[in-house]
């Protein structure tokens, strides 16, 4: 399979121009920033509390916005045009994720600044963000592919947002042990573990187990995306 950065870039540029007129996406993207600013004002400072905005940025910008953008390509019948162009699966998937990826990173950076969260050990933190990004973008892409309209993507995206975004926040109130165990393996929990450990001054070795779980999530969600995309590319009208 060839990979043309020119084609990936073309899709990115297109999405970038589109974003500037897309008030729905712009508004959605602002939500994590407001949340972060609010946390910053009330002076939340424990690492776990401060990492919520980063998590929320990942879920909203990485998954929710990505889902809406992919779903819109389906709703407006433009995905078909990409499929019938010389761009291959990987070029389309990467191209179609590029803007959400950049937005997520910008929003995370903004959230960190606004909330006053102190980033421990930047390289390890960056790797964890990168893995999280891949996972949430893949989940968002899958949600988008499974919906027919932007509206649908936000409806089926809601429970996913709750599970992947807020399970960590409500975990302490859950009694069911099995459920707690499951939540422990969610990407958001793994990320929180990593950030808490890093905050305590630990290094990569202390979080390698969590990193491995994230890596598994990333690989699994990437292949699931490819599979669902391929399935979607035929026999729909």
């Amino acid at each position: 399979m060839t990979f043309s950065t020119k084609r990936v870039n073309a899709i990115f540029i297109k999405d970038w121009k589109d974003l500037q007129r897309n008030s729905y996406i712009l508004f959605t993207a602002a939500i994590p920033l407001f949340f972060a600013a609010w946390l910053g004002r009330i002076g939340a400072d424990s690492a776990i509390l401060a990492s919520y905005p980063v998590n929320l940025a990942l879920v909203i910008a990485g998954a929710f916005i990505q889902a809406a953008m992919v779903a819109e390509e389906k709703e407006k019948n433009t995905l078909r045009g990409l499929l019938l162009s010389p761009a291959n699966t990987l070029e389309i998937l990467v191209g179609k994720s590029a803007l959400s990826a950049v937005m997520t990173i910008v929003i995370i950076t903004g959230s960190i600044l606004l909330s006053g969260y102190h980033v421990p050990s930047l390289p390890v933190f960056a790797v964890s963000i990168l893995l999280g990004l891949i996972i949430y973008l893949a989940i968002g892409t899958i949600l988008g592919l499974l919906s027919r309209t932007v509206m649908e993507s936000s409806i089926i995206g809601m429970p996913v947002l709750v599970v992947f975004g807020m399970a960590s926040m409500v975990k302490t109130t859950i009694e069911n042990e099995v459920l707690v165990k499951v939540i422990d393996y969610l990407p958001s929990e793994q990320l929180n573990h990593i950030w808490v450990r890093l905050g305590e001054g630990e290094g990569l070795s202390a979080v390698s187990g969590n990193m491995a779980v994230l890596l598994l999530w990333a690989a699994a969600s990437f292949f699931a995306t490819m599979l669902i995309y391929r399935k979607n590319s035929m026999d729909y009208s």
Partner: protein, 281 residues
């Protein structure tokens, strides 16, 4: 001449409906072939199969001498151009930006964008946002996108259905030129005029079957009993047959100075279609 498209015993069934019962045809390189049929006759389904968007249920489909199931590839997509009734455009982008994306995907020169905009009569409007365009203008943008990379084989699904006569004529000229430069054109329409103007051969599709496939001239020549209309002074019209009696009537009308105009009532492709299928287009 070599065949660009070869279709043998093609059948396509959906869950509750057989859209194509048994379809056989070939398309030669450089040809313009038109599929005519009422809505629901299976035109779009054929295009979707030929462009690898739908799997055939059975039968043999080859394009460029390759079986279609091997053609869901970037190389094939580079050689074909497609306009379907629901090819979408990016509504929040300008006409130019829509084409710029495809220019990069197909790796064509930027200058080509203005060329195709000229070809669809939209050069002056290129900065306009697609959302604000009329249906006909959108259709022309989609057409521009389909021919951007000068495809070897062009699929057009009712390409002028939303256009006014002036633009239709303009587009027809453009398509003829493209065809002269070597592009093979597969088009569907329910506009007889369009088929007549553009197509080397025409297929009548009805209920998922090809009822007739021939040149427009031969299709029309099938009609034997062509009548002749005489318009006489005093707003009278007389229709006569091509026989001795008719000849006499024509002769008389000329001799008495009553005749204003005369024309033979050749059937249109539409007439032939109605006679063949009992259905209007």
């Amino acid at each position: 001449m070599e065949n660009v498209i070869e279709v043998k015993h093609l059948v396509k069934s959906f869950e509750n409906k057989t859209a194509l019962k048994r379809v056989d045809f070939n398309v030669k390189k450089g040809e313009t072939i038109g599929f005519l049929g009422p809505s629901g006759s299976g035109k779009t389904t054929i295009i979707k199969i030929l462009t690898a968007q739908l799997h055939p249920t059975s039968g043999e489909v080859k394009v460029f001498n390759e079986p279609i199931h091997k053609l869901k590839t970037p190389a094939y997509m580079k050689k074909i151009g497609i306009l379907t009734d629901n090819s979408g455009l990016y509504e929040r982008l300008s006409i130019y930006d829509n084409l710029a994306l495809y220019g990069d995907l197909y790796e064509v020169k930027k200058s080509r964008i203005n060329e195709v905009l000229e070809a669809v009569n939209l050069l002056d409007e290129k900065k306009q946002i697609v959302q604000k365009l009329s249906k006909g203008m959108k259709q022309r943008v989609t057409l521009a996108r389909a021919i951007l990379h000068k495809p070897d084989l062009l699929f057009l699904d009712e390409p002028t259905s939303a256009l006014d006569p002036v633009n239709t004529k303009y587009i027809h000229e453009g398509l003829k030129k493209l065809n002269e430069e070597g592009t093979t054109i597969f088009l569907t329409t329910h506009d007889m005029q369009e088929a007549e103007v553009l197509c080397d051969r025409v297929a009548f599709l009805h209920d998922g079957e090809i009822r007739l496939l021939d040149t427009p001239q031969s299709l029309r020549a099938r009609e034997k009993n062509i009548s002749i209309s005489l318009v006489l002074k005093g707003d009278r019209t007389v229709v006569v047959k091509k026989d001795e009696e008719g000849a006499k009537a024509i002769y008389d009308s000329i001799q008495t100075g009553q005749l204003l105009t005369i024309h033979s009532n050749e059937p249109t492709l539409g007439d032939i279609f109605v006679r063949l299928t009992g259905r209007n287009l």
